[in-house]
């Protein structure tokens, strides 16, 4: 066991020395892998931030029932009674048209517009808070409410959320496909890098076989090389994404301020970042392992 660990430590140290002997080539390799990984990682980070923003903005879905301008309080009470036992309904509240106008006047950016209005153009409304995920039932309830007298408009606020959710899902699939393709690309790059390294160390491999080295002994330094390249490529990708977020956040802050928001693009949590690094290392390991398994067979002592 200690001999096994000792050889792993020696293989890792040897790999670092060998990579350090050709810093230019190593840096280019790592940079190529880093850029390739930064694309899906960056897209994933943007998507995660969009999901955070959507969740922040949306809260729970709502159903807004707007009455006609000539509707009376009993008309609104009829609507409240109709939704009281409706499917997916959490609670409802009546918003009189006077309060709606007062709220409009206090709303950022709309105050000036409200002030120019003569008579109050807003109707009474019943706002229904819904449980998340009850979409089909709510559609049915909305259809029933539209049939009630003095109901002008029934607006299901979750529709845009559904669309946003669908868009985010679409984005997620696109990022997964991109990540899959670039993962294959990264395995191919590592495969080829390790192949060239094997060719340059052909004599050493041949001698190692002659003096009794096992295949796993010969394989170990090359697999470490792939893993180290993958991990450092992952670190470069994280650096690129973090740097890009830092640059973008200046503009994001300016845009968010116009909505009265403190929103900023943020990196995923440390655990997720560690998983990304681990994934990059695993891809490097896989490329190297495949390459060594494929090419070591061809190098036999003569």
């Amino acid at each position: 066991m200690s001999a096994w660990l000792r050889h792993h430590a020696r293989s890792l140290a040897g790999t670092l020395r060998r990579l350090g002997r050709s810093p230019g080539a190593t840096a280019l390799n790592v940079l190529a892998i880093g850029v390739a990984l930064a694309l899906p990682l960056g897209a994933w980070v943007v998507l995660a931030n969009a999901e955070r923003l959507a969740g922040h903005a949306a809260g729970d879905p709502q159903l807004a029932v707007f009455m006609t301008l000539d509707a009376t309080r009993p008309d609104a009470a009829r609507v409240e009674a109709a939704v009281a036992n409706g499917p997916g309904v959490r609670r409802s509240r009546f918003v009189p048209r006077e309060r709606a106008l007062a709220e409009l006047k206090q709303a950022e950016g709309a105050g000036e517009i409200a002030a120019t209005l003569g008579a109050n153009p807003l109707p009474d409304a019943v706002i229904v808070d819904l449980a998340p995920g009850a979409t089909a039932d709510v559609e049915r309830l909305a259809a029933e409410l539209r049939k009630l007298p003095k109901v002008a408009l029934v607006q299901l606020d979750s529709l845009w959320l559904q669309r946003l959710d669908a868009l985010l899902r679409l984005g997620g699939v696109a990022v997964a496909i991109l990540a899959g393709l670039l993962a294959v690309g990264m395995v191919a790059v590592t495969f080829n890098t390790v192949r060239l390294q094997i060719l340059s160390q052909q004599a050493e491999i041949e001698v190692s076989r002659l003096i009794g080295a096992t295949t796993s002994y010969i394989r170990r330094p090359f697999v470490w090389q792939g893993t180290v390249i993958g991990l450092t490529g992952g670190l470069v990708a994280l650096g690129l994404v973090a740097g890009s977020l830092h640059v973008l956040n200046g503009e994001v802050a300016r845009l968010a301020a116009t909505y009265g928001s403190q929103f900023r693009l943020a990196l995923p949590q440390a655990g997720d970042l560690a998983a990304c690094l681990g994934f990059a290392g695993a891809l490097g390991w896989a490329g190297a392992y495949l390459s060594v398994s494929r090419h070591l067979r061809d190098i036999q002592p003569r």
Partner: protein, 220 residues
């Protein structure tokens, strides 16, 4: 007791060339023996069959009673660790110094570094390379390179030392030195089998020689 024995061994290469035909001979434990014959007689092929660098196409090569031709690939490293191999072209790693070259077999076996370093220094001392540990192979003479190859072969304390034309590229003085080193190892119990085309060398040594001619054993 025979440490190495060839029982009616044949070796035909994929291109149809028959390097060995029905070869039978044995090398006893502790013996110093030569494999002799002209170029193309089958000496190198016979030596390569012992560590299973090549496999016999017929017959059996036994090392310590084990048929090496029947060994699985995964078992070959452990067979080779029990043998010391010396090559005509030395097969040294030119980007490693003398000490690191001699250290290789011990690293492969997972020997602890301190014990490995002690054994490497002892092996280099035995072949007269003490003090040259930091030199690269390219800085050594032909004789010194061959002695380094011997140090690498014996550092793992093998029971059998196999050498293929170890003196072919050396002048007579360097060749004599190398052969004296083989003799010294043989005197402490190591079985030595040397392949050479140099009949004079065999005569001077006066030990048993297995003579090959066109892949057949003429006398052994």
């Amino acid at each position: 007791m025979a440490l190495v024995s060839f029982n009616r061994v044949g070796k035909r290469y994929p291109d149809g060339y028959e390097a060995l035909h029905d070869a039978t001979f044995a090398v006893e434990a502790g013996e110093f023996a030569f494999l002799t014959g002209h170029s193309g007689a089958g000496k190198t092929t016979a030596l390569k069959l012992i560590p299973a660098i090549e496999r016999a196409t017929s017959g059996a090569v036994l090392v310590n009673g084990q048929n090496v031709g029947a060994l699985r690939d995964a078992a070959l490293p452990f067979l080779r660790r029990s043998l010391g191999l010396v090559f005509q072209d030395q097969k040294l790693l030119h980007d490693r110094n003398v000490f690191e070259n001699a250290m290789l077999p011990l690293q492969v076996c997972g020997e602890p570094p301190r014990e490995a370093a002690r054994r490497v220094r002892a092996a280099l001392d035995k072949v007269g390379l003490a003090g040259r540990e930091k030199a690269l192979p390219v800085m050594l003479s032909g004789g010194e390179q061959q002695r380094l190859c011997i140090a690498r072969a014996v550092v793992n304390r093998p029971g059998i030392l196999l050498a293929d034309e170890p003196t072919a590229n050396l002048d007579s003085a360097a060749a004599a030195e190398v052969m004296e080193i083989f003799r010294a190892f043989n005197q402490v119990g190591v079985t030595v089998l040397v392949a050479t085309h140099d009949a004079g060398l065999v005569e001077r040594f006066g030990t048993r020689a297995v003579r090959l001619d066109h892949g057949r054993v003429l006398c052994g």
